[in-house]
Amino acid sequence: MAYGPGAGVLALRDVDLDVAPGTAVGLVGESGSGKSTLALAALRFLPGDGRVVRGRVELGGVALDGLSSAALRDLWRRRVRLVPQDPLASLNPSLTVGRQVAEGLAGDPAGRDGEGTAGASPRGDRARDAVRALLASVGLADAARVAASYPHQLSGGMQQRVAIAMALGGAPELLVMDEPTTNLDVTTEATVLDLVRDLRERHGTAVLYVSHSLAVVARTCDRVAVLYAGELVEDAPVAELYRRPLHPYTRGLLDSLPRVGQDRRAEPLRPIEGRIPEAHARPPGCVFADRCPVAIERCHAERPALDDAAPGRRVRCHRWPEIAAGTLDPRRPAEPPARAHDALAPDGDAPALSVRSLSKRYPLARGAWAALRRRPARAVRALEDASLEVWRGRTLGLVGESGSGKSTLARCVVGLTVPTAGEVALAGARLAPRLEHRYRARLGELQMVFQNSGEALNPYLTVGESLARPLRRLAGARSGGEIEARVRSLLEAVHLPAAFAARVPGELSGGEQQRVAIARALATEPCVLVFDESVSGLDVSVQAGILDLLTRLQDERHGAYAFISHDLAVVAYLADDIAVMHLGRVVESGPASAVLRPPYHPYTEALLSAVPTLDPDGQAERVRLTGDAPSPVDLPPGCPFHTRCPRSLGELCEREAPPWRRDASGKTVACHIPLEELVTAQVPLFADAGDAGAGPAAEGAAP
């Protein structure tokens, strides 16, 4: 299939792909690869100015070309369905969930109400029952209440289940899922992925699963198709693709993904250099040649064909026979390991950053009546008695679901949010809670890198000007020549060409913008850097480059890093110490190697269980959390986790706050269950976690 808008830019070129009934095919690729376009094209849904230039879509052996609009509607109603990426945006905000699911039922072309008209007609009754059954089938326990809700009243995970139920209402032969878990918490993602797997087995639906994450695909799919710059570059059964990728791009993607237990200094990630070519500027030869570590002259001149490498395996590369035979290593040579670094030896006698009993409550507006009766004001407890230390030359990783207080903590540390109680100290000296009360000379010692640097950088300032401002205001640089020289060295430090100083952020890619944001934070030579989801939202190959950069910068400059991420694999890779947060509290903290090994806090155990790993078969026994976290306003008494805790002891956990327990490895866990009991009950979730010194995994083995 070739597909492109009228202007003549081909978004997809010669892609062909089969999905058998009851199987799931994963479609992976980075942004710009054309995967979403392909997914929609498979549904015969083409955005306004697009058209299929060549090729066709067949369903059940019958071509779907030239359908009338009525036939197309019938196709969408009864045979193919989409599960969209952003469930909140994809549901109508003004209609109840029940109504939206009901109008998606295959049998009813007008789409009748699922609720509200209860008992009005036998047909309405049937629709209502069908809606409730569908909602229940995707694991929504209180189906009647969910059906009567509006989308914004549901949590993200529930919204995505509703979207899945809606798609299933058509009893489709093909289900196209477009990044259905991308915006969800890892624990929610895990339950949705389990659901997808279950549906496929129960209904025999064919699934085309689009994702940027190889790990997510590994968990749900039978086969994986790798898309790059609008072309299919490799297509193989999941296990084989991960064990023995034939295309250098696939290899590059796998090498970009950190896995839990990987040592960032002994075995750094190998990012893919360069950028994906744009659709109108594809090279004449292999589309990947410009970024390929093993490209030869032929690759630049001649476009490779999609060869059948083995039964069920296809690859588009001139050099796959050499790679398959093992005579050619398609990996980029790794950077020489960073200089020996004793990560465990903290230097200095005070932690670079210490946070003591930090709390932040947002009081809720109290009605006049409640105020008159002197009821205590209720508050959202965003942060509750959190204490942490970050030492120079070390990275503290902060993990937790959304709403766990990670970002509130970061904002309190840098002074953007004023905490309700507790204090923040830099190298032993207490900092004023408010940013405007802090000494200007000290502001430069503590800097922050935000998630979306495209928004955090002023779009009208050139990169050079953005970097010059902190130099002038906080680092005391005076003369133009000095500033220019320091801007140049900052760009060099983050591996950007000096010419970028003249560009504005809009001209940079996401990864380049994030490098500029890091350079800006480094301008004042801070001793403490706070990263708030700073690599989330980047493509894996770009993310790998930033993670390597952070490691190198830390080795060179000996900064203390507080690194916040919802991605446990990234945190495990980068952090020397890990603190796990739940509902505003730290529930477990300690050296990374200890946190990643049992005994776990039951919440940590659930988080780690939810991390999708590349290993398609060797998944340890999983712990799943059911239900949503309790509201931070009405926290249950006792341990706040007891409502969802699979290991809850019952009454004790419901009544009393858990004690802190410490073990020999130096980690602390807030739990009623003694650590000795936890360690016997739990299995290690990552075989090599913590064995950092064990060195790289055997060549070619599944990471």
């Binding site: 849904f45 369905r81 969209p84 109008e103 509006y150 009243q153």
Partner: protein
């Protein structure tokens, strides 16, 4: 929702109180001596003084304000200086006329503007969109006295379909008055039309681009269902607000239109009051106009909340 309503009503009362004070202060600042206006240039100073005292103009301003406000609230709106009639029945009669004209205008303008806006949005960038946009902008650029006179020339003088003069009798019922109302209503419609149509076009276009519309299309719903049930339900929210607010303008702001057609509405009464420096009448009309605006805003807010579950259910 109850709390929301109670709070909005509270705001409404505060607004009215503050504006009543403003109205009082402004009318105090108007140039000219009321007594001299009433009695004429030749009046003697003792006569003027006697009148001032009879009208209460010699008392301190705060006392004047409070007595005026309390009397107003009790339904005693005073007597017009100019006509020496009781003000309340006069203003209420004119208010009824204005409401009638406003109602007819909305009945024409809103469906027409929404239809044009939706039509333009569905054909965005193509010629129907361009025609609708250019035509509605061209019309809105013309002042009401021009469009009004053109309408009179065409429909009253050339075609002789409708009367040019809209001076309806006080006792006329709606059906009786209807032929006379059409031309003023059309003139007012032309003012509102472009604004509502362009707003509708913009919000329909915005909603059409949203992901939930794609979801609806991919359920295989017919285009009409997608448009009415999904797109319009969300796209018309801002339109509803603007329409409700424009009611305030239609009731008291149609000064030019009412003058062109000689229509006995609040707007023309207002110009009359200003002309004659009829302070009590002016104050009463202003306060009624403010009340109309404030109520229209309240209705807009409440409608928005009722139609939008994200507001209604937080």
């Amino acid at each position: 929702m109850t709390r929301f309503l109670a709070r909005r009503l509270g705001y409404l009362l505060v607004t009215l109180l503050v504006t009543s004070l403003l109205i009082f202060l402004i009318t105090q600042l108007l140039p000219g001596d009321v007594a001299r206006v009433i009695l004429g240039r030749e009046a003697s100073e003792p006569a003027l003084q006697a009148l001032r005292e009879r009208l209460g103009l010699t008392r301190p301003a705060p006392v004047q304000y409070l007595t005026w406000l309390v009397a107003f609230l009790r339904g005693d709106w005073g007597t017009s200086f100019a006509t020496e009639q009781a003000i309340r029945p006069l203003v209420l009669e004119r208010l009824g006329n204005s409401l009638m004209l406003a109602g007819l205008t909305l009945a024409i303008a809103v469906p027409l503007a929404i239809a044009l806006g939706v039509a333009a949005a569905l054909r965005a960038g193509r010629w129907p969109d361009a025609v609708i946009s250019v035509a509605s902008l061209a019309v809105v650029g013309l002042p009401e006295f021009v469009t009004g006179l053109v309408l009179i020339e065409v429909f009253a003088f050339r075609l002789r379909w409708l009367p040019a003069n809209a001076s309806i009798a006080p006792e006329a019922g709606f059906l009786e008055a209807l032929p006379m109302l059409i031309l003023p209503a059309l003139t007012a419609t032309l003012v509102l039309l472009a604004y509502i149509a362009r707003l509708t076009r913009a919000s329909v276009l915005e909603e059409l681009g949203r992901a939930y519309v794609r979801t609806a299309v991919l359920k295989g719903l017919p285009p009409r269902v997608v448009l009415v049930r999904h797109v319009l339900r969300n796209a018309l929210l801002p339109t509803v607000t603007v329409v409700a607010i424009s009611v305030g303008w239609l009731i008291s702001g149609l000064i030019v239109v009412e003058n062109v057609f000689n229509y006995p509405g609040l707007g023309r009464l207002l110009t009359f009051a200003i002309d004659r420096r009829d302070v009590p009448l002016l104050q009463a009309i202003s306060l009624v106009a403010v009340l109309a605006f404030a109520l229209a805003n309240l209705v807009a807010d409440v409608l928005y909340a009722v139609l939008n579950p994200r507001i209604r259910l937080g």
